[in-house]
Symmetry: C2
């Protein structure tokens, strides 16, 4: 029965073409695994803006609220770069996070063995890297009020943003991170600038309290954001799970992704709070952007979008076995030597988006 | 004549021991180059806290205001980590920046040829790296009001910081960056999150205006902070000068430093606005911290502190020739194979702080 309501939002740039390959995986699951999804497709980003005048139409929000999970592509492109704030494609993702209450962004940074050489770091530094960044995504400076650009009495402009975190906001995302650490190597590094920022001071205090009261078995350490960036660049394997607020999490998770050298391989999940029946809103997206420079050429790497589906199966539907099947299929294709342009290396064969999709389906 | 008033603030941890080697260079200049400094030594950080109850005593601020340049060591250590905000050693540097109006932090990230292998990045990625980050240091979220941790009516705590930038603050640090770009490869990358932050939106607008009106010959580009972190990790050599606000500049400059793999080699300058006679306050410090784990062992690398003196001679006294002499002496010592523990590599000889100092003096 079609009890799994899935909203697919391809978005802009390479979004639609990588999503096409994922649809093939979903079809395959339908036929072979007898898992049936009630699948809807919606609009977001620049595509939605052109069609409806809004980068995140109300209809998309309503459908997302009604769905069990959202599979998101990517948004944005030079075409819309000079639009005012409330028209920008990025608003698509920001509004969805806020309206669905998606406060915990899970960003794995993993280096698969066949891709060690794709990294700009020395092989020894990144071989076997497997860390997870948990980033808060509905609070902090992204949404705090007051915010705006105003003209002062002397005629000068002044830009203001407010970073604000409540105890409750910090505690709930900390719980997600502690819980994840427990299922991994039991180590959590919490990141802020408590030496400079007041919200950072509260962040450190609350994370410590949650750890002490609810997760005394997890080894907790604290690190300043600047030091964390250094440590990530020099010894990334020291980390297991990293917890950070919205802004530091944005920068550090992109940094961690870049260290792997294979952005085109990395998925992410953004989760809301579970309700009394355990159901939670969730959105899954590759971390690569819309890559307008290669859009429409059929050369984009569909793996991150496929692995986002795997995360979706695992986190939203508890389908660990199916998630693993997809992950294993992708790994086997890489081990077999096929590569899209972004992860090419010596001795490998370059293929396009759909051939990569074919290969994953064959492995499945 | 002793017309160059220099305030030396060794601070905590390895600060005093690396400063000792620099004092030898200053003595040598006195004798050989007939440059005479009126040299005072002051207290800052944990050392000042122990002696006076304040991490940045008024006397230190007064002396810094009277000096032509400040040579700063480093502050902080585990001993003072749990103190309240207003007692923390870091306040030493924060207060000096604010009271002296040191708004432009210049942070070079340079990979010297003999140290290419010290980096965690592949040699090809970092060989010849030479970029400069200009970070704003008296504004933004470090000082904006309101700030604090308060208890809300419902009993929950709430932490608040305010990021605020005026047009004038952005323009003056932008001018420093543009001016530097002109003396280098004529390219400037300005970094913010204009897609999310209002202060970032103003930042981008003002930097564009300054560029268009005053530096039309400098090639200006804009980059989001998350993307900049990625690009630094993957292709750092694409950059010449990077301009960023206080918070992003903190994280990105430490990241850039880490990429070099030789933190113990990197100096920095923080400059105020020139007055009508062209005189400006300025503070010079190595970017490595107080490194409490190795303090007092005589193994710290004195090079960054020595190179900070070189920057001081160049920027505060226009003594380009003397600055170059020190830089060349340090490079020759490295080329000769001597290394402190932090930058050891195969085929090099490990020496302590004072032997490294001896070697530099011998080259001079
Ligand atoms: C597109 C942008 C608003 C967004 C963010 O800053 O959160 C992106 O960088 C991300 O990390 O998902
Ligand atoms: C010590 C700390 C307050 C300081 C900062 O955040 O500015 C340091 O990280 C730096 O970069 O000089």
């Amino acid at each position: 029965t079609a009890n799994k309501r899935l909203l697919v939002l391809p978005g802009d740039g390479i979004g639609p073409e990588v999503m096409r390959e994922v649809r093939r995986v979903i079809d395959w699951m339908d036929r072979r695994r007898h898992v049936s999804f009630a699948l809807e497709e919606g609009m977001v980003g620049g595509a939605a803006l052109e069609a409806t005048g809004s980068p995140c139409p109300d209809q998309t929000v309503e459908r997302a609220l009604a769905a069990d999970a959202v599979l998101f592509g990517s948004v944005g492109g030079p075409k819309w770069d000079s639009l005012p704030f409330d028209k920008r494609p990025e608003l698509g993702i920001l509004r969805l996070r806020k309206e669905l209450g998606l406060f915990a962004n899970l960003r794995p940074a993993v280096v698969l063995d066949p891709l060690v050489d794709a990294s700009s770091l020395k092989p020894d530094v990144v071989r076997g890297l497997d860390l997870m960044i948990v980033r808060e995504t509905t609070g902090g400076i992204y949404f705090g009020e007051p915010r705006g650009v105003e003209t002062m009495p002397n005629g000068q402009r002044r830009g203001v943003d407010t970073e604000v975190y409540t105890e409750e906001e910090i505690a709930r995302v900390a719980r997600v991170a502690f819980d994840l650490a427990r299922r991994r190597s039991n180590r959590l590094t919490s990141v802020e600038k408590a030496n400079v920022m007041q919200s950072g001071r509260l962040w450190r205090a609350v994370v410590s309290e949650v750890g002490k009261n609810e997760f005394p078995d997890v080894e907790l350490s604290h690190m300043y954001a600047d030091n964390c960036a250094m440590q990530l660049a020099n010894r990334p394997k020291q980390f297991d799970v990293i917890l950070a607020g919205n802004l530091f999490g944005d920068v550090l998770s992109d940094l961690a992704a870049a260290l792997t050298g294979s952005l085109g391989m990395l998925p992410s999940a953004t989760l809301g709070a579970p309700d009394s029946s355990g159901r939670r809103h969730a959105l899954y997206e590759p971390i690569h952007g819309s890559a307008p420079d290669i859009a429409g050429k059929g050369i984009a790497n569909p793996c991150a979008q496929m692995l986002s589906l795997a995360m979706l199966l695992r986190w939203s539907f508890g389908m660990e076995e199916d998630a693993k099947m997809i992950e294993t299929a992708v790994e086997k294709v890489l081990a077999g030597g096929l590569r899209t342009a972004d992860i090419m290396g010596p001795g490998t064969a370059r293929v396009g988006t759909s051939v990569m999709g074919d290969a994953v389906l064959r492995e499945l």
